[in-house]
């Protein structure tokens, strides 16, 4: 009889014989995958949200005097000397005044007796997306104050700082927990597989004594590892998707969606996670099996 049907038959038999342990292992694997991918999902979404929030960041340089168009080019050059920026807008006294009027809305009448003169002209600078960390923004602001005629640089320091700290704290949390969880996943999977093998120690030993070839012994175990990895990861991802859908359904207030365009993994990432799960389990099997193959 040929080799392949034997492997399949043997695998099927093993799965049936030890289904309780199999289910346990499956649950462990899927739980681990679920936990890990859950954090990974959160992490990617936070990165995206951070990018969005950063879009609205601008630095305002208040100036002594109106900038004449000739000067504008020179200032632009000096600014871009420091770093590439997304956009630079010059605001004159008049523009600032109009804007204040718009902001005051119904209160516009308080501006009635005013001339635009009391508001300083300014430059609004929208930095590039790569300029995200607090320190770089601070350094940029320190640089901007040295521009000729610059009075003051403002960028919502307090809130940006707060958000930045918050964001980086969150990232630390996510990364640390992901690290913890990868460790525990690998640990648990290899532990479980080792224990499974331990309970089947006698069978493997006997097969060895009966002169079974390595492929005969390893084949079914590897198949099992593959199946475990595939089904475990699949289940984990399925659970994650259900959890994700639930979160979306439960917390998709308009404000929430505005801030967080909470999305699932793209198919490529899903497949990668699946493959990694399969690989980890197979690897775990192989490593553990090797111990029993000293003929």
């Amino acid at each position: 009889m040929s080799f392949f049907p034997y492997i399949l038959k043997q695998t099927g038999r093993n799965l049936r014989k030890t289904w309780a342990t199999q289910v346990m292992t499956l649950l462990t694997v899927s739980l681990s995958v679920l936990i890990f991918s859950f954090f990974y999902l959160i992490h990617t979404n936070i990165l995206k949200a951070g990018a969005r929030l950063g879009d609205e960041l601008r630095l305002i340089v208040y100036l002594d005097d109106e900038v004449v168009p000739a000067m504008q080019e020179q200032l632009k050059k000096r600014i871009t000397d420091f770093t590439e920026v997304e956009n630079i807008v010059f605001i004159s006294r008049q523009e600032a005044f109009t804007r204040l009027g718009d902001e005051l809305g119904n209160d516009q009448d308080v501006l009635q007796d005013m001339t635009p003169a009391f508001l300083p002209p300014s430059i609004e600078i929208y930095p590039k997306k790569n300029l995200k960390t607090l320190t770089t923004i601070k350094r940029f602001s320190d640089y901007l104050i040295t521009l000729p005629g610059a009075q003051k640089v403002q960028y919502g320091q307090e809130w940006v700082e707060r958000f930045g700290y918050f964001n980086s704290l969150l990232r630390i949390v996510v990364l640390l927990s992901a690290g913890l969880l990868v460790i525990s996943t690998v640990f648990m999977v290899s532990y479980t597989i080792r224990l499974t093998l331990f309970t089947r120690h006698e069978e493997l030993e006997l097969l060895r004594l009966l002169g079974a070839t390595n492929t005969y012994i390893q084949g079914p175990l590897l198949m099992e590892g593959l199946l475990q990895g595939f089904m475990g990861s699949g289940l984990g991802l399925l659970f994650l998707f259900l959890l994700f859908s639930w979160i979306q359904l439960r917390f998709s207030g308009p404000g929430f969606l505005k801030l967080f365009d909470f999305t699932f993994f793209p198919p490529v990432v899903t497949c990668t996670i699946l493959m990694v799960g399969v690989l980890l389990c197979s690897l775990g099997s192989i490593v553990s099996i090797r111990k029993f193959l000293r003929v």
Partner: protein, 222 residues
């Protein structure tokens, strides 16, 4: 078939299980190995099926030096050595059928052939009705017969039986001996370690006696 030259085996730290044992078993021979409990019979058989390795001396089975055999060759060789272990080594969670069939499945024999062979063997040993029972759920004597059936299943060239009748009554002992004799007739070399005088007292096969790790009777051909 089996050549042992001045073989010694020490179990750490200090148990001299075998001392300078030399033994030559011809192809087609049937020999009995006797001796007190703890004399080293099982250890000798373990060396022959390379479940243990010798510390000194030369062990050769079917032309292969077991100290220098390659894993792949050893696997092949083992398929053709049947061993009925003293502690049976059955898988209690699997059926009697499965336990016996295993020995043939590892050699990729066709299922229909396996089925026939298993049934015939169990029938000869009087446990045909236990074929679908779990090996852990039959009486000890029945388990012993399953172990013998598994050892004989793949028509081995060499069969090692370690105390094959320890849990069997006189009647069934006779059936077991008959089976072993018939295998021997068909060309299998047999080495049987036993305490049961009834099966070797009147035999005209070679009987070897062990004492504290040494062979005390010179190993003469029959």
């Amino acid at each position: 078939m089996v050549e042992l030259v001045k073989v010694s085996k020490v179990y750490p730290p200090d148990i001299m299980a075998l001392q300078d044992v030399s033994l030559s078993v011809q192809r087609g021979e049937m020999i009995f190995l006797t001796g007190m409990s703890g004399a080293g019979k099982t250890t000798l058989l373990k060396l022959i099926c390379s479940l243990e390795t010798s510390d000194k001396g030369h062990v050769e089975v079917a032309g292969h030096d077991l100290n220098r055999i390659k894993p792949v060759v050893l696997q092949r060789l083992r398929q053709k050595i049947g061993v009925a272990y003293q502690d049976f080594r059955l898988l209690p969670q699997q059926s009697v059928y499965q336990n016996v069939a295993m020995a043939m499945e590892v050699a990729y024999l066709p299922p229909s052939f396996i089925r026939k062979r298993v049934e015939s063997l169990l029938d000869q040993l009087g446990i045909a009705d236990k074929v679908d029972k779990l090996a852990g759920k039959i009486s000890r004597g029945e388990q012993q017969r399953v172990a013998i059936a598994r050892a004989a299943a793949n028509s081995p060239n060499l069969l090692l039986a370690d105390e094959p009748t320890g849990n069997l009554d006189a009647t069934i002992t006779k059936r077991v001996v008959a089976l072993l004799e018939s295998l021997n007739q068909a060309g299998t070399t047999l080495i049987i370690a036993t305490h049961d005088q009834s099966i070797y007292r009147h035999t005209n096969h070679r009987v070897i006696h062990m004492e504290q790790g040494r062979l005390t009777e010179p190993a003469v051909a029959r």
